[in-house]
């Protein structure tokens, strides 16, 4: 590294209003994006805490019924919360996808999915209430001012604005030969000038990432913060390397700018767009008719089954039921069997959602296999995965939901077939199991 070249470049940068403006504008945008991220994170956290407060109110109401000897709401006299069937139906369960502490550094796919879900025994992971929070669709396609977007898509453009005339300007003004005479090692001179901007950008973004890390509990997030620093630094270094060769071999600054912009367009717009188009071509939007069939036609067919058929299916799904007294009775309890149907439907839903997840996974595998020619999407998904805002973070969330639905159905069926009676303590046990 040559300090004189560094100082020269600093002077050049400080005197160039367009470059100073672009740099400050970018830093300002980064701060704005982090603020936006915090705003969205706080909105999600507020919604979650409001739901939790409502849930606590519901729970307290039921506990109050137990205290006062009531068995249900006045206008629904058929409800009896001492019966496990009604008691579990009146046990509110919500599953949340809480934003990670570093959420302000990358909203990722968070706006394409819901982040809370009320669980009932009939729920599934592809219910219509799993859709994203209400937003303006046209705003969604333009996206948010997201920090990861700025790093992945705008930072290379800032680097272009800052570096496109390195070596090119000398050639434009035709004193490039003078530079070559004064500097034996032209590559070294070029590299040092480029390094100045690279170091400037790396320090700036690392500072912002570390700041967010500090504000949101550095100790707990140190691994992720370091990963994000590594990803961003390597990413911008790769662009800088390409730009170095463009600067070296271009004849004019405008030619260098044109080539740099073309590289950016190719990697950030054209290749991801082409892969996206190909992925849609190979895996068109899934209308999920298999899932819809289970949700509707096959559900109705299950309801039409005879009770002894349903009994057999139930024993297969939940073999422990066969040990209960009710299962050993010679006469089938029709109401009990009918009330257990949700378990059968849930089992069918699990099968259908598995198929959907598999289809999605095939598409994801195709996307992953394109990373070798589509590195920008790789970096983007890697970044999102660090902040838990990628597809897989939401897939895990769906898995949690599925587990909750399953445990709810297993509990309700088992408790009903065991003919348990519910008191306050038992209800508290249900709360522990279902929350």
């Amino acid at each position: 590294m040559n300090i004189n070249i560094f100082l020269f470049e600093f002077k050049h940068f400080a005197r160039n209003k367009a470059k100073i403006f672009s740099y400050l504008f970018f830093v300002l945008l980064c701060i704005l994006s982090i603020y936006n991220g915090y705003d969205l994170m706080n909105t999600q956290l507020e919604t979650i805490s409001e739901i939790k407060a409502k849930k606590d109110l519901e729970i307290n109401k039921i506990l109050g019924w137990h205290d006062s000897g009531e068995v249900g709401p006045e206008d629904k006299p058929w409800v009896n919360i001492t019966d496990p069937y009604w008691s579990i139906r009146y046990t509110p369960t919500y599953i949340f996808k809480e934003p990670s502490p570093l959420f302000p550094l990358g909203i990722g796919q968070a706006e394409q999915f819901g982040f809370y879900k009320k669980i009932t025994r009939w729920s599934s992971t592809y219910d219509t209430d799993m859709v994203e929070e209400i937003s303006n669709y046209e705003r969604l396609i333009n996206g948010n001012i997201d920090f990861s977007f700025l790093i992945i898509f705008l930072l290379p453009i800032l680097l272009i604005i800052l570096t496109y005339n390195i070596n090119g300007m000398e050639k434009d003004l035709r004193f490039d030969k003078l530079i070559f005479i004064q500097n034996n090692k032209v590559n070294f001179w070029l590299l040092n000038r480029l390094l100045f901007y690279l170091i400037l950008l790396i320090i700036s973004i690392n500072f912002l990432i570390v700041s967010v890390g500090f504000v949101n509990g550095f100790d707990n997030n140190i691994d992720t913060v370091l990963k994000l620093i590594l990803i961003s630094n390597l990413y911008i270094f790769c662009f800088a390397l390409i730009f170095f060769f463009i600067n070296k071999y271009s004849n004019t600054s405008s030619s260098a700018a044109f080539k740099m912009i073309s590289i950016w367009l190719m990697f950030c717009v054209v290749i991801p767009g082409t892969v996206h188009q190909y992925a849609s071509f190979k895996y068109p939007v899934n209308y999920m008719t298999d899932f819809l069939d289970i949700n509707r036609k096959q559900t109705y067919e299950v309801f039409k089954l005879e009770n002894f058929d349903l009994y057999d299916i139930l024993m297969q799904i939940q073999p422990e039921l066969s040990e209960t007294q009710k299962a050993q009775d010679t006469v089938i309890d029709n109401q009990l069997v009918r009330r257990s149907i949700s378990t059968i439907i849930n089992q069918m839903n699990i099968g259908a959602t598995f198929e959907i997840e598999m289809q999605n996974e095939n598409k994801n595998e195709m996307i992953k296999s394109s990373y070798i020619i589509n590195p920008v999407s790789y970096v983007q998904n890697l970044w999102n995965s660090c902040i838990f805002t990628d597809y897989y973070a939401y897939k895990d969330y769906r898995s949690k939901i599925q587990e909750s639905i399953l445990s709810r159905n297993q509990l309700i069926v088992l408790e009903m077939w065991r003919e348990n009676k519910v008191n306050k303590e038992k209800y508290k046990d249900y709360l522990k199991i279902l929350n």
């Binding site: 394409q112 001012i145 939007v285």
Partner: protein, 468 residues
């Protein structure tokens, strides 16, 4: 002027890099359009299959209770417009399946964006991506030195000496670049006409025209703006930096920030709030499934009075069907109130965003491009409204059959025939004709023309002789 125009073209054709890029764009355009049409047709086919599959299940329904059939419900699948391959608009982020059933209105679900990892932040490689991001940059690089090189090479003085006015020279150069973009646009329109020959009707023709002219004006703005900066700065580097910064502001920064801003000034309710508020309002009406509901008693009295009988068992109709429909109609009014408000807010946000065309012509272009392709918010809301209207028809027909189709009150096991179920009309959504909603895009059109006139004036002013 014609001579200068002709000379510009000669210059273009002598430039190997230009020839490479123009050939590249033409090939790319053909490939993008071709694969776009194929992909779109495949999607339309998948949508039709899903639609037919669901309808076949309905048509095969064995004799059933109409109210059970209302719970069984049906599905509306969001169709892709023929011109979706031009600009996908909001279709990647909106759901595609809407369940239509009794008692409740569902959300449209299963968006494409939620079915995989992120791929492209700028959408699929459709014609719009090429026209909105790549061609403008190409034009900027062609235009930024079109004036300054004439000065530095000394050709400008030569042209002036020959009797050409500076204005004529500048406008001839602008026109030569505009003619280039016109060729690319014309190729696109031609390809659309060829690939979709059997499907193009008058509406699609109007849409293609809107598409063509919107981009044509936008390209004029891009070229004129770049040339204007070139005239003002008189330096290649400064004008190029400034134009690229402007391009970034227009296409990336402003759409995002103004999109956020419109949501801030017209905030939307959260899903949980909306659902709680609707539940609250709904609880004020009749609950068709609650026999202890007091409002049900009032309706019962009203029906008994109407038929001049003393008890429900004496009614010649099935009170359960009437009750369900009353419940449904109350639910509809609740939906109209809350979703009417929500859709109103979304339209307000869109209108605010359209106003940003005053400072960002790209916003106007984007809006008109999606409108022409039938993939913007207005078209999506139209689909949702049409689906809801169909749901109301569907449920009312079932409830009416339950009430007046021959059953009596208390006959829960009464079943409607398969012929009845087959007689219910299918949901066939056809895209709204653009002509009828064109007034919603007046702001965009005015903004694009406004920018053009302002730039025309500024170039006219700056290209006077004294300025040289």
């Amino acid at each position: 002027m014609i001579n200068i125009f002709y000379n510009e073209w000669l210059g273009f054709l002598r430039n190997k890099l230009f020839l490479f890029f123009i050939s590249f764009f033409v090939i790319l355009l053909i490939a993008v359009t071709y694969f776009g049409v194929i992909q779109n047709n495949k999607q339309i086919e998948a949508q039709n299959d899903a639609h037919d599959h669901i309808r076949a299940q309905w048509d095969e329904m064995s004799p059933s209770n109409p109210h059970s059939a209302a719970h069984f419900g049906t599905y509306a699948f969001k169709p892709n417009s023929i011109l979706n391959n031009l600009d996908e608009g909001v279709n990647a982020v909106t759901g595609v399946v809407l369940r239509l059933e009794g008692h409740k209105q569902n959300e449209v679900a299963f968006s494409e964006a939620s079915q995989s990892l992120t791929i492209s932040q700028f959408g699929k490689f459709k014609v719009s991506l090429l026209f909105q991001f790549i061609i403008p940059l190409f034009l900027i690089f062609l235009a930024f030195n079109i004036y300054t090189t004439e000065i530095t090479s000394g050709r400008l003085k030569l042209l002036l000496v020959q009797g050409n006015s500076l204005r004529k020279i500048v406008f001839a150069k602008i026109l030569s670049l505009l003619s280039l973009s016109t060729i690319l646009l014309s190729i696109t329109i031609l390809l659309q006409l060829i690939f979709n020959f059997n499907k193009i009707e008058l509406d699609q023709f109007v849409r293609l025209n809107i598409f063509f002219w919107s981009y044509f004006i936008y390209y004029f703005i891009i070229i004129a703006y770049t040339v204007l900066l070139s005239i003002i700065f008189k330096k290649n580097t400064s004008s190029l930096s400034m134009t690229i910064i402007t391009w970034l502001l227009w296409t990336i920064f402003l759409p995002k920030t103004i999109g956020n801003f419109t949501e801030t000034i017209t905030p939307l309710t959260t899903r949980i709030e909306l659902s709680e508020n609707m539940k609250e309002d709904r609880s004020q009406g009749i609950d068709g499934h609650n026999p202890f509901d007091t409002r049900k008693k009032d309706l019962e009295k009203e029906v008994l009075d109407k038929y001049q009988v003393d008890s429900l068992s004496q009614l010649p109709v099935n009170f359960a069907g009437i009750l369900m429909q009353a419940d449904e109609e109350y639910g509809n009014s609740v939906w109209d109130k809350h979703y009417g408000d929500l859709y109103g807010k979304l339209e307000t946000q869109k209108r605010h965003y359209q106003l940003s065309g005053i400072i960002n012509p790209f916003a106007s272009l984007q809006s008109l491009s999606m409108a022409a392709a039938g993939t913007d918010l207005f078209h999506h809301l139209d689909f949702l409204n049409a689906s809801e209207l169909y749901r109301r028809y569907f449920i009312k027909t079932l409830n009416d059959e339950y009430a007046f189709g021959g059953s009596k009150t208390g006959e829960r096991g009464w079943k409607a025939t398969n012929d009845f179920f087959r007689s219910i009309k299918d949901f066939n959504y056809s895209e709204k004709k653009l002509f009828f909603i064109l007034h919603k895009y007046i702001v965009d059109i005015i903004c694009l023309f406004g920018w053009s006139f302002v730039l025309l004036f500024l170039i006219y002013y700056h290209s006077r002789k004294g300025f040289l």
